[in-house]
C-alpha cells in the first residue's frame, strides 16, 4: 500500500469504472440517498426513457425538506408539499426502494439518518441530490452533492461522470477553548479561505483537534465544506468512527465486521500522504463565530468587529461587504454583540444532532427565552428526537419557552411553514445566511453554534457565551 496516497484518491481509484470520452471518470456509487425535493424529476426522466433503477438495494429515501414540523397530519395542508410527498411514496414503491417515511421510526434529515442508520461507512462513494451530502465525509467516505440530471444517472446506472478534484489538507491542531465548537472551526475556515476557496478541491480535515472530535462534530465540519466551495470534505476513519458504527442498523456485524474494519482502515490516508494544497489552523486561537453578512464566509469571532470597508483593497470585496451590510442593516466596524434577535432556530443537518441539542439544553436550562424572541428546536431525525425525549430535553426547552418540533429541515430553508417574517433577524444553528434563505426575502440570518444560538434566545440578543459564567 502506497503510504503517500490520500484517502480521496484511494477511494476514487477503487470506484473508477472507466474514463469517458469527455475525459471525465465514471465512478461507481456505493450508496445513493434520495429525498422528496430533488428526486421526482429524475424518476420522471428515467421513466420517460424506459430505464429503471439499477441498484434499488443501494438506494434509500426519506422525506425532510418540505415536512411540516408541527402538524404532520396527511394530507399536508400545503398541497404542493403533499404532491411531492406522494410522488416520493409512489416512486419508492414502484422501484422497490427502502423509504424512511413519516410512518417509520427513522425519518429525518437525509444527512442525519444515513450516519445514524449505519448506511454511511468509510471508503464509500455516496451521492445525494443535496449539496450538504459532504456531511457523510466525516466517516471517511467521499460524498457528493448532485443535481437532478446526476440523480437520474445514478438511479439508472449507479454511476456518475465526474472530474477528479484536487485535495487540500486542512490541518487543525490544539485544544478547542471553552465555548468554541466544531461549528466555529468550520466557520473560521470558510472566513479565512473564502466561499470560493474550495472550488475544485476536496477537503481532508486532519490534525489532533479533528482526531479528538466526536463523529457528530466531524459531521458538522464536513457538512459545511460546501459553504467553503469544496464539494467534498472528509475525515479519515479511526477508532471513533468504528465505535460509532458498531451495532447500527445497516452496519456490518460478526465476521463481516472484521472484514469491514480491515477494508475501512486500508482506505485511510497513508502516514506520508501528499496533498495538492495545505492549510493550517490553530484551534486554540478560535473564538465563538457569528456571521454578519449574507454568505457564510462573512463571519467574525464574537470578539471581533465587522470589517471596515475602507480597510479593504479589492473593490469587488468592498462591493460584497456593502451589499451585505445594506441587507443586514449593520455598519462597518460594528460589534455583533448586543444585536437584538427576533427568532432562534436550533436544528438542521449542520447542528440538529443529539450532542447539539444537549449543548443547547445545557445553556437553556433554568432560563427563559426573552419575551421578544420566538425560539424553536427541530431535531434532525426521529431517532434524535427519541433520544432527546429519553433525556428529558424537550421539557427543558419547553420550560424555557422554546417550541419543540418534529424532525425535518424546517427553517434551514423554509420550504415548510416555518419561516421568518419581514426583516426579522434570526440566530440560527443552520448553514446558510443567503438573502431569503429562511423564507422571507427581507429576512436576516446570523449563523452560529447551537450554544451561541441558545444563549441568544435567553438574552434576546447576540452574546459571547464565554462571558458571564455561561460556559
Amino acid at each position: 500500500m502506497n503510504s503517500r496516497e490520500n484517502l480521496f484518491n484511494k477511494v476514487w481509484d477503487l470506484h473508477k469504472v472507466a474514463t469517458l470520452p469527455t475525459g471525465q471518470d465514471q465512478l461507481f456509487i456505493d450508496l445513493h440517498l434520495v429525498h422528496e425535493v430533488t428526486s421526482p424529476q429524475a424518476f420522471q426522466m428515467i421513466r420517460e426513457r424506459g430505464l429503471t433503477v439499477h441498484h434499488p438495494e443501494r438506494t434509500f429515501a426519506t422525506a425532510d425538506h418540505i415536512v411540516p414540523t408541527d402538524n404532520q397530519q396527511r394530507p399536508f395542508s400545503d398541497y404542493l408539499a403533499e404532491a411531492m410527498m406522494s410522488a416520493l411514496e409512489e416512486n419508492t414503491r414502484e422501484y422497490n426502494i427502502t423509504f424512511f417515511g413519516l410512518d417509520t421510526e427513522y425519518q429525518g434529515i437525509v444527512h442525519i439518518i444515513g450516519p445514524e442508520l449505519g448506511l454511511t461507512q468509510p471508503g464509500m462513494t455516496i451521492a445525494c441530490g443535496d449539496s450538504h451530502t459532504s456531511t457523510h465525509g466525516a466517516f471517511g467516505a467521499i460524498a457528493f452533492g448532485i443535481g437532478t440530471s446526476q440523480i437520474r444517472d445514478v438511479l439508472a446506472t449507479q454511476t456518475m461522470a465526474l472530474s477528479r478534484p484536487k485535495v487540500r489538507q486542512i490541518h487543525v491542531t490544539g485544544t478547542l477553548p471553552p465555548g468554541v465548537y466544531a461549528k466555529d472551526i468550520i466557520l473560521r475556515i470558510i472566513a479565512d479561505l473564502g466561499v470560493n476557496g474550495g472550488i475544485g478541491y476536496a477537503y481532508e480535515y486532519n490534525g489532533d483537534t479533528i482526531a479528538s472530535l466526536s463523529m457528530e462534530e466531524r459531521m458538522t465540519i464536513c457538512n459545511m465544506s460546501i459553504e467553503g466551495g469544496a464539494r467534498v470534505g472528509y475525515v479519515n476513519p479511526d477508532e471513533t468512527t468504528y465505535a460509532y458504527l458498531k451495532d447500527r442498523n445497516y452496519a456490518p456485524q460478526g465476521a463481516q465486521q472484521v472484514q469491514a474494519l480491515e477494508h475501512w482502515a486500508s482506505v485511510a490516508s497513508g502516514p506520508d500522504a501528499v496533498y495538492d494544497d495545505y492549510y493550517t489552523l490553530d484551534a486554540e486561537s478560535l473564538a465563538p463565530m457569528v456571521t454578519w453578512g449574507i454568505n457564510p464566509g462573512q463571519a467574525i469571532g464574537i470578539d471581533q468587529r465587522i470589517p471596515r470597508i475602507e480597510d479593504i483593497e479589492d473593490p469587488q470585496e468592498q462591493e460584497s461587504i456593502r451589499k451585505a451590510l445594506d441587507h443586514m442593516g449593520f455598519c462597518s466596524g460594528e460589534s455583533m454583540e448586543g444585536k437584538k434577535i427576533d427568532v432562534v432556530f436550533i436544528g438542521s443537518c449542520t447542528n440538529g444532532r443529539i450532542s447539539d441539542l444537549r449543548e443547547a439544553a445545557r445553556i437553556v436550562q433554568g432560563n427563559r427565552v426573552a419575551p421578544s424572541v420566538q425560539a424553536f428546536v427541530v431535531p434532525g431525525s426521529k431517532q434524535v428526537a427519541r433520544q432527546a425525549e429519553a433525556e428529558g430535553l424537550p421539557e427543558i426547552f419547553a420550560e424555557a419557552g422554546f417550541s419543540w418540533r418534529h424532525a425535518g429541515c424546517s427553517m434551514c430553508l423554509a420550504m415548510n411553514p416555518d419561516k421568518l417574517q419581514g426583516r426579522q433577524l434570526s440566530a440560527s444553528s443552520s448553514n446558510r445566511n443567503f438573502i431569503g434563505r429562511q423564507g422571507s426575502p427581507s429576512g436576516r440570518t446570523l449563523l452560529m453554534s447551537p450554544a451561541m444560538a441558545a444563549a441568544a434566545a435567553i438574552n434576546g440578543a447576540v452574546v459571547d457565551i464565554r462571558k458571564g459564567g455561561r460556559i
Partner: protein, 205 residues
C-alpha cells in the same frame, strides 16, 4: 424556444447582464418555488425575489427589463450559482430562455448542472465580463457569439478567449452532455465494479 439538444459547438444571442458577485441559487430560484414535481413553468420564477417586491410589484431587474427581452446569453460576475445543488436554478434560467452563461467564475456544482442541460457556462476575465456587460447595457441589440470549438466569445468588433473545463467542452461539442446514455455504454464495467468493490451495507430490517 426549443430546449438544447445534440451537438453544441456554437451559440449566439443577445446578452442580459446580471451584475454582482456570489449570486446564489436561492436568488436564482427561491426555495419556495421548488415545491414542484416537474421543472415546467419554472422560468417565470427565475430571480423572483430580485424582480418583484413582497407585494408582487415589479422591481428594477434585468430579467424585467424590456430591453433585454428575448436575450439568451446571461452575463454574470464572480462565483455565480453558489449555494445549493438544486438543478432548479439552471432549469429556471433555461426555461426563461437562457442558452449560455458567461461569468467570471462559478460554483462547481452549478457549472456542472448547466452543462448537463446543454447550457455552456463559460468563464472570462473580470475585465472582459465588465466590457461585455457595458456593451450590452449600452446597446442591448448586440449579439454575442460563442464558439466552443475555439473557445471564443465575439461581440461586434470585440473578441475574447473564454474558458470552460475541457470535459464540459468535450461533452457539449460531442453532444454527449446528456450523460446517462454515455454512462450506460459501460454496462459490463459497471457490473464488474459492483462485484469488485467491497460493500458492507447489511440489510437487517
Amino acid at each position: 424556444m426549443k430546449e438544447p439538444s445534440g451537438i453544441i459547438q456554437q451559440t449566439a444571442g443577445r446578452g442580459i447582464p446580471v451584475r454582482g458577485n456570489d449570486i446564489d441559487t436561492d436568488q436564482i430560484i427561491p426555495a419556495r418555488f421548488m415545491k414542484v414535481v416537474s421543472f415546467e413553468g419554472l422560468g417565470e420564477y427565475a430571480f423572483y425575489d430580485q424582480r418583484f417586491t413582497e407585494q408582487g410589484a415589479p422591481k428594477d431587474h434585468p430579467f424585467n427589463d424590456n430591453r433585454f427581452k428575448g436575450a439568451s446569453v446571461l452575463l454574470a460576475n464572480r462565483n455565480f450559482g453558489c449555494g445549493s445543488s438544486r438543478e432548479h436554478a439552471p432549469q429556471a434560467l433555461m426555461r426563461f430562455g437562457i442558452r449560455a452563461i458567461i461569468a467570471e467564475s462559478y460554483a462547481e456544482i452549478f457549472q456542472g448542472n448547466c452543462t448537463a442541460l446543454g447550457i455552456p457556462a463559460l468563464t472570462l476575465s473580470s475585465r472582459d465580463v465588465r466590457v461585455l456587460m457595458d456593451v450590452v447595457e449600452d446597446s442591448p441589440e448586440s449579439v454575442i457569439g460563442i464558439d466552443l470549438e475555439d473557445k471564443r466569445v465575439m461581440c461586434g468588433d470585440l473578441e475574447f478567449s473564454c474558458d470552460l473545463p475541457e470535459s464540459y467542452r468535450n461533452a457539449l461539442t460531442a453532444g454527449t452532455w446528456d450523460s446517462t446514455s454515455v454512462l450506460l455504454d459501460q454496462l459490463d464495467q459497471i457490473r464488474e465494479a459492483h462485484s469488485r468493490i467491497p460493500c458492507f451495507i447489511t440489510h437487517q430490517e
